[in-house]
C-alpha cells in the first residue's frame, strides 16, 4: 500500500508515493532519478549510499523513505553544488582518492558533513567520521590525504 511523502532534496521540494518498506535509496535513485548515490551492500555496512538527512550522514539503503517526510535530504548532486563539496571533490581528484569511484560519492558526502560541523578535524577525527565508508581500491591513505588538502587549504605538493 502506497503512502505519500513530501520532503526537500537538495533544496527542492519533492513528493513521492512510496511502498511501506521502501528505502530512501530506492526513492532517490528510482523515483527522483538521482543516480549519483550508489547501492553497495544494502545492509548499512559500506557507506556507498550515504546521503545527508538534516545535515547528518545516513545510510540511505536502510533508511525508511517514510521517515524523511518533512525533512531535508542532500545527495551527492547537492553536495557538488556547494563550496565545501566542490573543494572535497577536487581534493579527491588531486590526491588520487578515487580509483574505481563507486565508493566516492559516499565518501564525499561524509567528508563534507564532517567539515561542515568541524572545519579543522584531526586525522583521528577524520578516521572516526569515515569509519562507516568502505573503499576497496585506495587503501584509504589517499583519501586521508585528500581531506588533509581541504583542511589545510594547501595544494598538494
Amino acid at each position: 500500500m502506497s503512502s505519500g511523502i513530501s520532503f526537500a532534496v537538495n533544496g527542492r521540494g519533492v513528493t513521492a508515493q512510496i511502498d511501506g518498506a521502501a528505502t530512501l535509496l530506492d526513492v532517490i535513485r528510482n523515483d527522483l532519478g538521482l543516480t549519483g548515490t550508489k547501492e553497495g551492500c544494502t545492509e548499512g555496512e559500506c557507506g556507498a549510499c550515504t546521503v545527508l538527512i538534516d545535515g547528518k550522514p545516513v545510510h540511505s539503503c536502510i533508511y525508511p523513505a517514510v521517515s524523511v517526510d518533512g525533512h531535508s535530504v542532500v545527495t551527492i548532486e547537492g553536495i557538488s553544488d556547494g563550496e565545501t563539496g566542490r573543494a572535497v571533490q577536487e581534493a579527491f581528484w588531486d590526491a588520487g582518492g578515487i580509483q574505481c569511484g563507486f565508493c566516492t560519492p559516499g565518501f564525499i558526502v561524509t567528508v563534507a558533513a564532517l567539515l561542515e560541523n568541524n572545519p579543522a578535524p584531526s586525522e583521528d577525527e577524520v578516521r572516526i567520521a569515515l569509519a562507516g565508508n568502505i573503499c576497496r581500491c585506495t587503501g584509504y591513505s589517499q583519501i586521508l590525504d585528500a581531506v588533509e588538502v581541504v583542511v589545510s587549504g594547501k595544494e598538494r605538493a
Binding site: 511501506g20 518498506a21 544494502t42 548499512g44 545510510h59
Partner: protein
C-alpha cells in the same frame, strides 16, 4: 506492507494496541530495515516513531532518564555526563557515524542482540525501562526485560519510552571495553562494562560487571560483583573475579571468533576495566599499569 503515520506517542500506542504483534515500531531503522529485507520479520504495519520529539530528551535531575529515541551520536558525545562514560563509549562503537546518527538507544535495547553494545553499560547502571501502552505503563529492570536472543518481555502493544539510570556516585568510575577484529563498525567479539564505587578507604563498596557476546543475552555477573564488594583491588582478587565471570558465561563459536578465544579475552578485559574504573574514580590502582 502498510504504514501507520503517527504524530504523538499516544497515537503510536493506539496503533500498537490495534495491530498488536502485526505492528513493528520503526525508529532509526538500522536493524528493522535490514531484518525486513532479509525477511527475518514480516510485520503487516510499520509504525514510524522517529519524529516523536517527546521521546528524544535526556533529563539529568539527580538520576538520569534517557528517551528511547536518543541517538547513539548524542550519547557518544557525552550527553549523560561524566558518570556515564561507559554508555558514551559503547554508543561510539555502534556501527559508523551513519548508524550512530539515526540509531537509537531504545532500538538497541528492543532489538536485544547478544552483541548489543549499549546493553552491558546500561546493565551496570541498573537501567530501568519504562514501557507504555494505551492501558498504562510499567517499569521493568533491563535484566528482566531481556529473555533470550532477540527476545524481550515487551508486549506487542507496548512501546519502550524511556530508560532510567541509577544516579552517579562520588568516587565511582565506569568503562566499556570492546574487542573486535577492527576498531570501528564491528560487532563485539566480547564487550565488557564495569562500574565500581569506592569508599573513602579505597574499598569497593559497589561493583557491577556485565558482558555482551558471551551468552544468548548480555548479562550481569553477580557472583563476580560480590567478590569485589568489600575488598580493595588487587591482582589475585581480579583473577578470582575473572574465574567467576567465566563460570557465568557460555560463549559460542561463530564466524567472528571461537568460544575459546572469547574466554581467553575475559581476564585481560576484567583487569583493564578495573584499572580504568579505579583511575576514573580517583583511586590508586595496583592493577592498571601492567595491562594498559
Amino acid at each position: 506492507m502498510k504504514v501507520r503515520r503517527v504524530t504523538t506517542t499516544e497515537q503510536a500506542l493506539e496503533a500498537l494496541a490495534e495491530h498488536g504483534s502485526a505492528a513493528q515500531p520503526l525508529a532509526g531503522g538500522t536493524d528493522v530495515m535490514v531484518q525486513l529485507s532479509r525477511n527475518e520479520i514480516s510485520p503487516d504495519v510499520l509504525v514510524p516513531i522517529n519524529d516523536l520529539a517527546e521521546l528524544s530528551t535526556v533529563e539529568t535531575n539527580g538520576g538520569v532518564r534517557v528517551g528511547a529515541l536518543v541517538t547513539h551520536e548524542t550519547l557518544a558525545k557525552g550527553a549523560l555526563g561524566s558518570g556515564y562514560r561507559s554508555i558514551a563509549e559503547a554508543a561510539h562503537t555502534v556501527g559508523g557515524w551513519q548508524t550512530q546518527a539515526v540509531g537509537t538507544l531504545g532500538g538497541n535495547i528492543c532489538n536485544a542482540s547478544p552483541a548489543a553494545d549499549t546493553l552491558p553499560p546500561l546493565l551496570v547502571h541498573d537501567a530501568e525501562l519504562e514501557l507504555r501502552s494505551s492501558g498504562g505503563s510499567r517499569t521493568l529492570g533491563l535484566e528482566e526485560f531481556l529473555v533470550g536472543r532477540r527476545q524481550t518481555r515487551r508486549a506487542p502493544d507496548e512501546l519502550l519510552v524511556s530508560v532510567g539510570l541509577t544516579p552517579g556516585a562520588p568516587r565511582s568510575g565506569d568503562v566499556y571495553l570492546k574487542v573486535g577484529r577492527r576498531s570501528a563498525v564491528e560487532v563485539a567479539i566480547v564487550g565488557l562494562a564495569m562500574r565500581l564505587v569506592f569508599d573513602r578507604n579505597e574499598i569497593v563498596s559497589k561493583a557491577r560487571i556485565a558482558l555482551a557476546s558471551v551468552a544468548a543475552v548480555p548479562l550481569r555477573v553477580r557472583a563476580a560483583e560480590t567478590l569485589l564488594e568489600g575488598e580493595a583491588l588487587d591482582g589475585h582478587l581480579l583473577d578470582e573475579v575473572s574465574a567467576a565471570v567465566l563460570g557465568a558465561t557460555s560463549p559460542i563459536d561463530d564466524l567472528r571468533a571461537s568460544a575459546t578465544y572469547r574466554r581467553l579475552l575475559v581476564p585481560g578485559l576484567v583487569r583493564r576495566a578495573a584499572g580504568v574504573c579505579a583511575r576514573r574514580a580517583g583511586v590508586s590502582s595496583p592493577v592498571e599499569e601492567a595491562y594498559q
